[in-house]
Amino acid sequence: MVDKEFKPMGLTREVVLGLLVECPGYCYQLDQRLQQHRFRAAEFVHGTAAQAITQLLKEGLAREQRSPNKLALAGRRNVKIYEATDRGVAHFREWIRMPARPMPIREELIARVSLCQPDDMPRLIEVVRNTEAMLMAQLQNLNFRDRVRHRALDRGIWETQIDVAVSKVDHAVLDSRIKWVQELHNHLVEEFTDPIVRSRSRSRQPA
């Protein structure tokens, strides 16, 4: 779960706009593209594109396509295909180039540790372990997706280069989070569990 306070606001809108800049589409198709995109955002569930499109239409960044489209000609007249307006394209280009926001930092876990009482510690260690297991699952999935994408034959040079960049960064981000949680776990275990484990840190200190 991402804390709302740290959630990058407007990201969904920008990403949907980016897809429309790439190629016009209808809502269901945009949802599918969101899910399959290398951006891989978990918050993009079914209906995300429709919400973003409503906002983009209000702001004049997207519009319904005026020219007849293949789906409408095929008899599905209720299908609305959207495209980015010139203002939308300019806005998206500007967004791509703007300075990045600071990285969201999750401080909740460390706040809980700093405020806890001794009888909270067993539960906190469990929470840290669970966090570790979830990070492991994310790493496992990231590895899986990378292997699948690596084997896809229909990717162009640009797609491949971007995939490599995203994969490297994803691994680096996960790596730092895993190390952070492992370090916290190790410290809590060494300081707050049975004496035989506590001796780990002491036995490593020079005599």
Partner: protein, 245 residues
């Protein structure tokens, strides 16, 4: 189907010195044929000990180590030693003590088990699979770090074990070299059916692995199953909430 290797509630405490040191605490894991499992851990968390226990080299204080359905430490010594050495290969990145060529280093463990010509043929094949055929006549000191890791891997391939146990082979290597080794491990698992249990200190070294686990203070935490492969990396996720006992 029974897993190839299964560790059940394995614990090990080193009692030498003034303070006992718990190296492994109730570690349970399973690995099947053709599967790659990485244990991600920082230094001195028990990963080498875990690999030694998994390879049947180190006896645990408690728990079971089962290979191919048999409890390794319940078998008589003679029944355990040689067959296990043929089935499990433990690889690390220590420098070999002998001043031999790459080809000789790969062939050496095979010479005791068959004719010389056959041993060298297997060594050549292993070097070719590892992508090192042109380095066959060189010595350890002539090799780059990534080539040394490939050499160790070739030593494992040549013996054709069912389980490769690899101790942080890609440590200190750059991303591209690490990726090359990971990709080779994946190929070995998929084409030759090797199972691989490996340790790693960095997340990118696990890219070839089907499963990953984290080892902290001798405690292994395997990944939670059934996370959506299409999910992104959220910010620090909340652990599932359970009632405090």
């Amino acid at each position: 189907m029974a897993p190839l290797l299964a560790l059940h509630e394995v614990s090990l405490t080193f009692r030498r010195g003034p303070h006992p040191l718990q190296a492994l605490a109730n570690v349970t894991l399973q690995i099947g044929t053709g599967e790659l499992l990485a244990v991600l851990a920082q230094r001195a968390q028990g990963k080498s000990t875990l690999l030694r226990v998994a390879a049947g080299v180190q006896r645990p204080d408690a728990g079971q180590v089962r290979f191919d359905g048999h409890d390794v430490w319940r078998q008589p010594r003679r029944a355990r030693g040689k067959p296990l050495a043929a089935e499990i290969c433990l690889l690390d990145h220590d420098r070999p003590d002998l001043d031999l060529t790459v080809r000789e280093l790969v062939a050496l463990p095979l010479l005791a088990h068959g004719p010389r010509r056959e041993a060298y043929a297997k060594a050549d094949h292993a070097l070719s699979r590892a992508g090192l055929p042109e380095r066959a006549a060189h010595r350890w000191d002539d090799l780059a770090n990534s080539e040394r890791a490939l050499l160790m891997l070739a030593r494992g391939i040549a013996r054709r074990p069912r389980l490769l146990v690899i101790d942080d082979l890609v440590v200190g290597l750059g991303l591209s070299s690490g990726k090359q080794i990971c990709s080779l491990l994946r190929t070995l698992a998929e084409e030759d059916g090797f199972a691989v249990l490996m340790s790693a200190t960095d997340a990118h070294a696990t890219i070839c692995c089907d499963r990953v686990g984290s080892l902290v203070a001798g405690r292994l935490q395997l990944a939670l199953e059934a996370v959506d492969p299409d999910s992104t990396i959220p910010d620090f996720p909340e652990a599932p909430r359970q009632a405090v006992p």
